[in-house]
Amino acid sequence: MTETPNNDAANDDGPIRDTLFEAPPEAEQERMVEAILFASAEPVTVADLNARMPHGADGAAAVQALRRRYEGRGVNVVRIGDAWAIRTAPDLGFLMQKETVETRKLSRAAIETLAIIAYHQPVTRAEIEEIRGVSVSRGTVDQLLELEWIRFGRRKMTPGRPVTFVVTEQFLDHFGLEATRDLPGLKELRAAGLLDNRPPPGTAPETEEGADDDSQSDMFRPPLDPEVEDESGPEDGA
């Protein structure tokens, strides 16, 4: 009853057989992570997993094993920032008309603003305007904030200490990204120097020469708590 003979999918169905008859602790931990991830709609951090599993369990290892197990299945274990979630396989979306959520269509301005924030984060409103060549309407930013795709980052250490925007974990989740470094085309853009903060010639050099290093380092930093704003980043040293 353990063998699933009619399973000729790409993945091997071995793991099931392995774990049914002997239940070594790791297999049991994997079951636990499986239960926890299945129960939650939102991503669960490894810290949360460990907190919920019995003492001494290794949530990180168990989630990796689980991820492998679900490769090629109808649902997959996906990483979102520091957290993990189970999501249906993207190729099966056509089965889910019933579950499809109608999202408000984003304006062109909102889409561009979102992209600029994602690729340039942390980025100030002035910088967004400089890139787009028009002022950013409040409604656009509000819409993105409301969707919880962006949030306020820490303030920039330039005159006026303007607030910055960064993308959120929900953004990553929505677009199926593990981290902002996986944004499509990010490497090419960076290589082409298009993510540099290049001030217009003749303007006083801004105090943020490090800006692009900064955005880079920030990209690898999980977009977690908004309170870290006065933690000194590379740009304040400049």
């Binding site: 979630a85 993207p90 499809t100 999202t103 984003l106 561009e112 787009r132 060549g133 028009v134 010639p201």
Partner: protein
């Protein structure tokens, strides 16, 4: 911008038509940079190699046209026009060594960079939106299980609490030698015994104080324990169905009465 007339004839017919087409849907542009980007695309070259001079001319033509057609352009567009006119003159005239500031080439290079960057952001925005999206292409769990919170209470105290607690007790006893005396303590058992004998006579409501044992006033311990014991005994009797207890209001005297049998 009076110098537009001598440029115009240099533009091809196609460019002019393109410029007119642009004017028609000026509303559709997200600002001057967007418009410039669209114009640059008509040059059909890599954005890095775009002729900024050509672009400046094209844009200025556009602004002239709009003016001729009495189309009101937003201030942004006019500011850009002024800047491009300045850029054009910088690019055309030999550099003046007296003049400060960036050269025309530097300004042009920056404009080209801006255009390329905007184009790049447009491109990645489109790629981003083309990704599989949650709730459209892939889905989260439909039936979630709430995590029930189990509250576990632990108690804590600090050494200071402990010391203060002890100090509090010792302050009470400070002026009394520490002796194990229970001489003046009245117990509930004693009160109960007394009251069982007395209660038969209490057909009317009587103040509980009348049941206090003799000698209850000798000291504080006696006072307190007598009160407590009597009260507890009264409640015990009430529980046994032997007396009724009442108190008309808070702090009013507590009164007791023998509980009559049902038939009476």
């Amino acid at each position: 911008m009076a110098d537009d007339d001598f440029e115009e004839d240099k533009l091809s017919v196609a460019d002019r038509l393109a410029a007119e087409a642009l004017i028609v849907d000026v509303e559709g542009y997200e600002g001057p940079l967007d418009l410039l980007l669209t114009m640059a695309r008509t040059q059909k070259v890599d954005l890095m190699k775009v002729s900024v001079l050509e672009l400046a001319k094209q844009y200025l033509t556009f602004v002239e046209k709009a003016r001729a057609l009495r189309i009101e352009l937003a201030a942004d567009y006019l500011v850009m026009a002024a800047w491009l006119a300045f850029l054009k003159s910088r690019l055309l005239l030999p550099p003046d060594p007296e003049e400060e500031g960036p050269s025309g080439e530097e300004l042009a290079a920056h404009l080209a960079f801006q255009l390329e960057r905007l184009a790049a952001m447009r491109d990645v925005a489109a790629r981003l939106m083309a990704r599989d999206q949650l709730g459209r292409d892939f889905f989260k769990r439909g039936i979630t299980e709430d995590v029930t919170r189990v509250r576990k209470v632990t108690y804590t105290a600090t050494l200071l609490d402990l010391m203060q607690g002890y100090a509090r007790i010792r302050t009470k006893d400070e002026f009394r030698p520490f002796v194990m005396d229970r001489e003046h303590i009245h117990t509930m058992e004693q009160s109960l015994e007394r009251m069982r004998k007395l209660i038969g006579f209490a057909g009317k409501w009587t103040d509980i104080a009348t049941y206090l044992p003799e000698g209850w006033t000798v000291d504080r311990m006696a006072r307190r324990s007598a009160h407590a014991a009597t009260f507890a005994a009264a409640l015990q009797l009430a529980k046994e169905g032997l007396v009724e207890v009442r108190q008309s209001e808070t702090y009013a005297p507590i009164e007791l009465r023998r509980k009559d049998r049902p038939q009476e």
